[in-house]
Amino acid sequence: MGNFPLVVDLTLNHIRLSIIPIVLGFLIAIPLGRLTLTGRFARGTVITAMSLLYTIPSLPLFVILPAILGTKVLSDTNLIVALTIYAVAIMVRATSDAFFSVSADTKQAATAMGFSAWRRFWQVEFPLAGPVMLAGLRVVSVSTIALVSVGVLIGSENLGYLFTNGKQRNNLEEVGVGIIATLLIALLFDLILVALGRILLPWVRVDRAARRRSKRTTALAPLAAGDSAVAGSEGRS
């Protein structure tokens, strides 16, 4: 397997290109998501704007950004900015829903106990919004890693090279290796995120177990069914 060093190199670069958008997307989405609580107009505008941005297909966005950012067409910066935009678009929806899910009663109780707005946000709302945000983060992680490979079309050095080079040489194995490597990175990131969730949000497991016990005793399971209302599961392209 003389190609192993090459695959490792490409994988490391692929990971580097994925981490920045995921982290930045998460950070930027927190204030934006919180903003949607302030009123229907804010929520509507933010969600609409995110929706529009997300609709822009990837390769076009990579090549539109040079006109806006002043970068060269074949620069990695375009890739990272575009991926961050997509990450924010997905994440804002999740953080918005997450903050919405924190009950007003809990927030009022915190205020009554003397929490300042800032402390209340960080010590009450944010942790309670954690599980849903984590779910959104996992979606962002997977989508970003899958999308990085399209960057090879604008000269980025990542696992996508295995696709174009494999096609150029009629080497199906090479393309297959690229797909598997991408999936493995996605799996790795997902496991890390789940582990982080267990560490930072330990109460979720207790909560889930309790709910599972109580679920068995309910005749209908509309809540559980509605929970996994899904729809948005497409990979980006």
Binding site: G2, N3, L6, R40, F41, R43, G44, T45, I47, T48, A49, S51, L52, L53, P66, A67, I68, L69, G70, T71, K72, V73, L74, G155, Y161, T164, N165, K167, Q168, R169, N170, N171, E173, E174
Partner: protein
């Protein structure tokens, strides 16, 4: 009232559009190189580039590995794209050395060039590239030319031996890279030199690679631009049409580099490679990398260098 009321949609669109418009006041052409040879930091570091097809990557590997062995500080940046991207990369310093083909390189700088033989082209090149602060070293005997290629069967059925014979089979489809439609030896040259104009151009992105070959053998196109060192010529029983009017100039491999790294040691090292590189070598190398062996470009390059005593 849905969150997608008309007012909000409008506001959202305006918000996004405003950001784009305000930020989009970039006047700089993203496809042009930076003016002033910025380069990346270390001016003695050699950054070897290549075009986005296997043969160029192999040649890039040959240069890079040979130079490393001679003690140069070498980085690589392969598979950049066609000349329309590699020349700007040289101009802005992202790369400073690339294996080139003398004829097409001259064509890029002087679309009306008349030189056709290796010596004439080489002589004209030094001046042509000088205005970009670039220079070339000696060319190799190894040549890889664009070619008008048909299947043997098609040639026999229609009595085709040279490019001019294509006027017999008009109208037909021709498959090649997008640049071919604009270049002197491409569609425009076919018309002006051989008088063949009723051609439907079908672009392919793979520089005479598997897609183009398949299109030719499947008769999606009747003619294709497949380079003369391609293993497919033999494997698929293809015929290179003769070029009596010299539409396509000599295409010897030679190093194109930035004057900032031009030193006698570098010249010696690269000239040594050019002295040993033959067309048969190119065919062999491509066969190893693109044929059934699927060797990596770096392995094939390393083996060639060892055989040539340069590693």
């Amino acid at each position: 009232m849905s969150i997608f009321s008309k007012g909000r949609v409008a506001f959202g669109v305006i918000a996004v559009g405003a950001v784009v418009a305000l930020a989009g006041c970039s006047q700089a052409d993203p496809t042009a190189p930076d003016t002033g040879n910025a380069g990346g930091g270390d001016s003695s570091q050699i950054v070897v580039g290549s075009f986005a097809f296997p043969e160029s990557e192999i040649l890039g590997e040959i240069y890079a590995q040979a130079l490393k062995a001679k003690g140069f500080d070498v980085q690589t940046k392969f598979n950049i794209g066609p000349r329309q991207q590699t020349i700007p990369a040289l101009q802005d310093g992202s790369i400073n050395l690339i294996p080139e083909y003398n004829g097409n390189l001259l064509a890029y700088y002087d679309t009306a060039f008349t030189q056709r033989t290796t010596d004439d082209v080489d002589a004209a090149l030094t001046d042509a590239v000088a205005k970009d602060n670039l220079t070339v070293y000696s060319s190799a005997a190894a040549e890889d030319k664009d070619a008008y290629v048909v299947t043997q069967a098609y040639a026999q059925a229609n009595g085709l031996t040279s490019i001019g014979d294509l006027s017999k089979v008009q109208p037909f489809s021709l498959g090649a890279n997008p640049q071919f439609a604009e270049l002197g030896y491409g569609i425009p040259g076919l018309k002006s030199v051989y008088g063949v104009s009723d051609v439907t151009f079908v672009p392919y992105e793979d520089f005479g690679g598997p897609d183009t070959v398949k299109a030719l053998t499947d008769n999606t196109v009747q003619v294709a631009d497949i380079y003369t060192t391609s293993p497919a010529l033999k494997a698929e029983n293809l015929l290179v049409l003769k070029d009596p009017e010299n539409l396509i100039a000599a295409q010897n491999v030679l190093p194109l580099l930035s004057k900032s790294i031009d030193t006698p040691e570098l010249k010696d090292a690269l000239d040594a490679i050019s002295a040993k590189l033959t067309t048969d070598d190119l065919i062999d190398l491509r066969n190893r990398v693109e044929g059934s062996e699927q060797a990596s470009a770096s392995t094939a390059a390393a083996d060639w260098l060892k055989n040539a005593g340069l590693l």
